[in-house]
């Protein structure tokens, strides 16, 4: 039995009167890539954010390596081995690529000098562009930077929010290949949120389907891909 890295137990949260998550339970084992697919507004990003403590859980628990982190301040969660590449990338546009990466290591107390080579090995493009301003990078490079910045904190668990958003298919395949390489070489645990269900389910060991704040299906990536209702709802039938 694999060791559980992240356990989300009946998590409910929302914004004001809007209930975004209505009791979500899932788990991610150590060394696993788990993907969460769902339509716009299903609560995918909210779930990732809520794992990090923003918005706070109204009910339920989040456990990291068996430790309850539900009530912990966000910055402590992020320093304690969780890293997120947020939706829309959110790199620092006026700071250089190198500064962006250093910011990733800084708060988590990692030495940038030891983490940089790892990230540059994974994304050699970032090394070429390290003196360039973040905002001048292409969309794909910005996504590499966002993931690289998250990796600089040497996380146990990497949360990725729509890494393929707005990218050309070729570029998003490169990004997915990098995620797979990370998982295989370092055994990094990844929880991935995607709209691009086809690619995400091919990459992931397991997947969950989130519909309006509830998990409706789960299974291995291949299993979910084979399900007719998934094909109809998320793969547009044509893939």
């Amino acid at each position: 039995m694999a060791q559980t890295m992240l356990e989300v137990d009946n998590l409910a949260t929302g914004y004001g009167a809007v209930q975004a998550l209505k009791g979500v339970s899932l788990h991610v084992d150590k060394g696993e890539i788990v993907t969460l697919i769902g339509a716009n507004g299903a609560g995918k990003s909210t779930l990732l954010m809520s794992i990090c403590g923003e918005p706070r859980a109204r009910a339920g628990r989040v456990l990291l390596d068996g430790e309850d982190i539900t009530a912990r301040p966000t910055h402590e969660i992020m320093r304690g081995g969780v890293a997120q590449s947020p939706e829309g990338r959110r790199i620092f546009p006026r700071m250089s690529v190198l500064e962006n990466l250093v910011m990733g290591a800084q708060a988590a107390g990692q030495d940038p000098a030891t983490q940089l080579p790892r990230v540059y090995d994974l994304f050699p493009r970032l090394k070429e562009r390290q003196a360039q301003r973040g905002g001048t990078l292409s969309g794909g490079e910005q996504q590499m930077l966002a993931i690289g910045r998250a990796l600089m904190s040497r996380p146990r668990l990497l949360l990725l929010d729509e890494p393929s958003l707005g990218l050309a298919p070729l570029i998003s395949r490169q990004i997915f290949a990098a995620i797979r390489a990370l998982n295989e070489s370092e055994g990094l645990t990844v929880l991935l949120v995607e709209q691009n269900a086809n690619q995400a389910l091919r990459l992931a060991h397991r997947g969950y389907v989130l519909v309006t704040g509830r998990i409706t299906m789960s299974g291995s990536g291949a299993e979910l891909l084979a399900r007719p209702e998934i094909r109809d709802a998320y793969l547009g039938g044509s893939h």
Binding site: C52, R90, F92, R94, S96, L98, M103, A107
Partner: protein, 432 residues
């Protein structure tokens, strides 16, 4: 350019200038054209000034046409990029040159008491600009009530000296600490606010402090202010005219002169300003400084990276406020008299204008902007009421020609190998 292209450009420029003149006409017809005056018999009558309205509209038309035909095409031809690169190059030598001039200024022949007083004023604003730059330029928190901390510093020194007889050198750090404390106090309620909302609350904070000072008559003297604030001493040696035993002149065996104190004040504020600069430049390369800049760029990303937003914002407010507190204590000892009138909103606006005109985040740019704004304002003293016009025109001109401020480039705080400046054209324009 083809003749037809030129004709089209002239035509569109004419149309544009015509529209601007029309707007100006609509505004000036009431503001300038009609005026109520009191007739000799005591009744009000309406005086019309159509000639002035016509002149103003013609002026607007002409200037707008000139901008459309000459200034804007030049801007689009990449001239700004070249001039920005040139300026940032010159900036590397310009800063030390400026510092050298500042250091020898009191001994330059022809520099009298008036010029030194002006120098002290300019340096005070440079210091305030550098202090505010920490909050606005680095951390990106738009603070419209900065003058409140200046007031806290000034009143801290004045009251501590008045009630407890503490000397300037003891009060200076206390004033800074008290101002920093108020900075944290302001920081707490505005932690969740950004941009316009933050600006409104800080604006209100500045006014609250001023109104409290105005109305708490028993402590602050209200509108009468506090007078007889002790002058600074040269580490215990007073600058007395009599030159008696124990005075500055007696100790050093020189002729007593009123200019000693002015020169001392000049070097004091120069030292304080340089301290502000040193701290700001050093801290920018520290983790906290980088966190401020990251916070300015994207708050959500900062949270995702595990940066403690609360501490980061509060330290920015506290540090910025501390330097305003130092400057306030200096202001009090220099003037020997303070009243709430010295701490109105216009002061906050001037300091913010210096920071924005100088280029958010640029130390040299802020110094130049303070010299231009405060010094220039004095230079045009002979123009009487028209100097506001000149002043406003100059600000508009700077913002049209250099929308990112005088020095809009940003040097990365972390580099491997050679240092490379980030060109002004790549830096986003100031956001609230």
């Amino acid at each position: 350019m083809t003749p037809s292209g030129l004709a089209a450009r002239v035509r569109s420029a004419l149309v544009d200038a015509g529209k601007a003149a029309l707007v100006a006409f609509g505004l000036f017809i009431l503001m300038v054209g009609l005026r109520t005056d009191v007739a000799p018999a005591g009744e009000l009558f309406l005086r019309t000034r159509w000639a002035e309205v016509g002149m103003l509209c013609a002026l607007v038309f002409g200037l707008r046409l000139a901008t459309a035909l000459w200034v804007r095409p030049r801007l689009s031809e990449g001239n700004t990029q070249r001039s920005a690169a040139l300026l940032s190059q010159a900036g590397l030598m310009f800063g030390p040159a400026l510092l050298a001039v500042a250091l020898i200024l009191p001994f330059v022949p022809g520099i009298g008491r008036y010029e030194l007083d002006l120098g002290i004023l300019v340096l005070t604003y440079i210091m305030l600009g550098w202090g505010l730059n920490i909050v606005v330029g680095l951390a990106g928190l738009l603070d419209l009530g900065y003058v409140a901390f200046y007031a806290v510093g000034a009143y801290s020194y004045a009251l501590l000296a008045q009630f407890f007889g503490l000397s300037f050198w003891i009060c200076l750090p206390l004033a800074g600490i008290l101002a920093a404390f108020w900075g944290v106090l302001l920081g707490f309620p505005v932690l969740r606010l950004r941009g316009d909302y933050l600006a409104i609350v800080t604006l209100a904070f500045g006014e609250i402090i001023r109104i409290v000072l105005l109305n708490w008559v028993e402590l602050t003297g209200g509108p009468n202010g506090i007078s007889g604030i002790p002058r600074p001493t040269f580490f215990g040696l007073p600058f007395s005219m009599g030159g008696g035993p124990g005075s500055f002149a007696h100790f050093f065996g020189i002729e007593p002169s009123p200019s000693h104190r002015v020169i001392f004040l000049y070097y004091l504020i120069l030292g304080l300003a340089l301290l502000t600069n040193w701290v700001a430049v050093r801290i920018r390369r520290q983790p906290i400084g980088r966190a401020w800049e990251a916070l300015r760029e994207d708050e959500v990303a900062c949270r995702a990276l595990g940066i403690d937003i609360t501490n980061t914002k509060l330290t920015a407010f506290a540090l910025g406020a501390m330097f305003a507190g130092f400057a306030g204590a200096f202001f009090a000892t220099r003037q020997a008299f303070i009243s709430p009138e010295s701490f109105t909103f216009i002061e906050s606006a001037i300091i913010l204008a210096i920071v924005v005109l100088g280029g958010l985040g640029s130390q040299v740019g802020i110094a130049v902007a303070a010299i231009v704004m405060i010094g220039g304002f004095e230079l045009f003293r002979d123009l009487d009421e028209y100097r506001m016009l000149v002043f406003g025109g100059a600000m508009v001109a700077i913002m049209v020609l250099r929308p990112r401020g005088l020095v809009g480039s940003r040097a990365p705080s972390v580099v491997l190998g050679g240092r490379k400046r980030i060109d002004a054209s790549l830096v986003g324009e100031g956001r609230g």
